[in-house]
Symmetry: C2
Subunit: 259 residues, 2 copies
């Protein structure tokens, strides 16, 4: 896509997200239908499904030939990244959504032939939309922003997945202890926002493609490194342990992993 096309798509996506978020906020006091998926803390609500249905419908209507990877089953079985591929997470941080009615995100990522195009992480209750991509730059709502300083690991807070931190799986505890301190927010989207806005020096978690697709585009646009925890390139179509951090902290983390 050329810049004009990307800007037109951006206008559409921002309108969809605003509609979906307004709808969600208006109905937050209504009856929640909560179901468990893989376990007692893997939840899905009627809001996840309705929001995903709405967003996927908008994409299909505007871009009928594109492929869609999404969390709650309204997307496609995507096998390869050729052409345009959308990633939709209607509610990232469903536990926070259910238990707190706060601190959750709506996310959309758009790739073309495997390349970053546009990413969106919307903090729904704070109405903070972090959006952008390599051709349009990085923005927080209406404001163009730059990426964070290239800080070392010890200079910043580090976002972690709770169980990985608690059990030191893949050295996550050692990494967090070498930072200024661990934080657990419970939403991959908000963790990515924190790293991109310079509030954390990094974040590690086991994630599904819809959890990291938007964040990867925004983080790379912000000059951050996004890799597997081993420093390898991300596979956009599978679950993996994702590390987003500064280029300064990346080799420090690799050394901790190898020691």
């Amino acid at each position: 896509m050329d810049l004009l096309e990307i800007k037109a798509v951006n206008t559409d996506v921002q309108r969809w997200l605003a509609t979906a978020a307004t709808n969600l906020r208006q109905h937050l006091t209504a009856h929640f239908q909560v179901q468990t998926k893989s376990g007692r803390n893997d939840l899905v609500t009627n809001f996840d499904k309705e929001t995903e249905h709405f967003l996927v419908d908008q994409i299909r209507h505007s871009f009928p030939n594109d492929q869609i990877v999404s969390e709650e089953g309204f997307g496609d079985q995507v096998q390869q990244m050729s052409g345009r591929v959308w990633f939709v997470d209607p509610i990232d941080g469903t536990l926070n959504f259910v238990k707190q009615r706060n601190d959750f995100a709506m996310m959309i990522g758009l790739y073309e032939d495997g390349r970053n195009v546009l990413g969106y992480i919307l903090d729904v209750m704070d109405n903070k939309l972090l959006w952008g991509g390599p051709s349009v730059g990085l923005h927080l709502n209406e404001e163009a922003i730059s990426g964070p300083a290239n800080e070392p690991l010890a200079a910043g807070l580090f976002g972690v997945n709770g169980p990985m931190f608690a059990t030191n799986r893949e050295s996550v505890r050692d990494i967090a202890f070498a930072s200024s301190g661990a934080r657990i927010l419970g939403s991959a989207g908000l963790e990515f926002q924190h790293v991109i806005l310079g509030r954390q020096v990094g974040y590690i978690s086991r994630l599904m493609p819809w959890d990291f697709a938007a964040g990867k585009i925004l983080a790379e646009t912000a000059g951050l490194s996004v890799t597997t925890i081993d420093g390898d390139p991300i596979n956009m179509l599978k679950s993996q342990t994702v590390l987003v951090t500064t280029h300064h902290a990346l080799p420090e983390i690799q050394r901790i992993r190898q020691s």
Copy 2:
């Protein structure tokens, strides 16, 4: 103090906090002077000191005979809880303050002869003041609110101290794993706010008196349990591991600790 006196004190304290918070927000982009205290992640800034100095000055001017316990040294060496004792934490969550310019709290607690009188936890950047006490009830800014539902441990998120969670000190990991999930916010005040607002079912951390004094008053006013991790009464004048949780979850946590 009678209710009229308490209401008059409340008007004063809210005015002091508003002044201190406005001042802090206005100068956040100015030069930070950050010093380490006991270690590289135990920080104090010029803002902590100036804010404490201001709040302690207001208290001394209005209540010259009262005792003050405070973090940065402008208070007194308080040995007993008779009479009126104030607890002041100018910036709770200093690491968040320094690294994120967000997610920190200003706190004041007032006790009389060891009894709860008034507590204040101000989320400075969100401008959310949780305040109240046994005679005036619980309030979020201008709105009177009620306490959270009496949920079991498994029904809610649980706030933890990072190192205690990571090393399972005092069974903190086992407790968090029995909840819906662990969260680490990095500010005792904001953790207390979350529990009182029903966003978390509990919180455990090793805390100093100024970290828990305001929260204890508000949590008990909200119908929550505030004890040491062993279920014993809090000693207001020493560092200890504090547990705030629902009365439903308290015996569940005790059973985990004993197993």
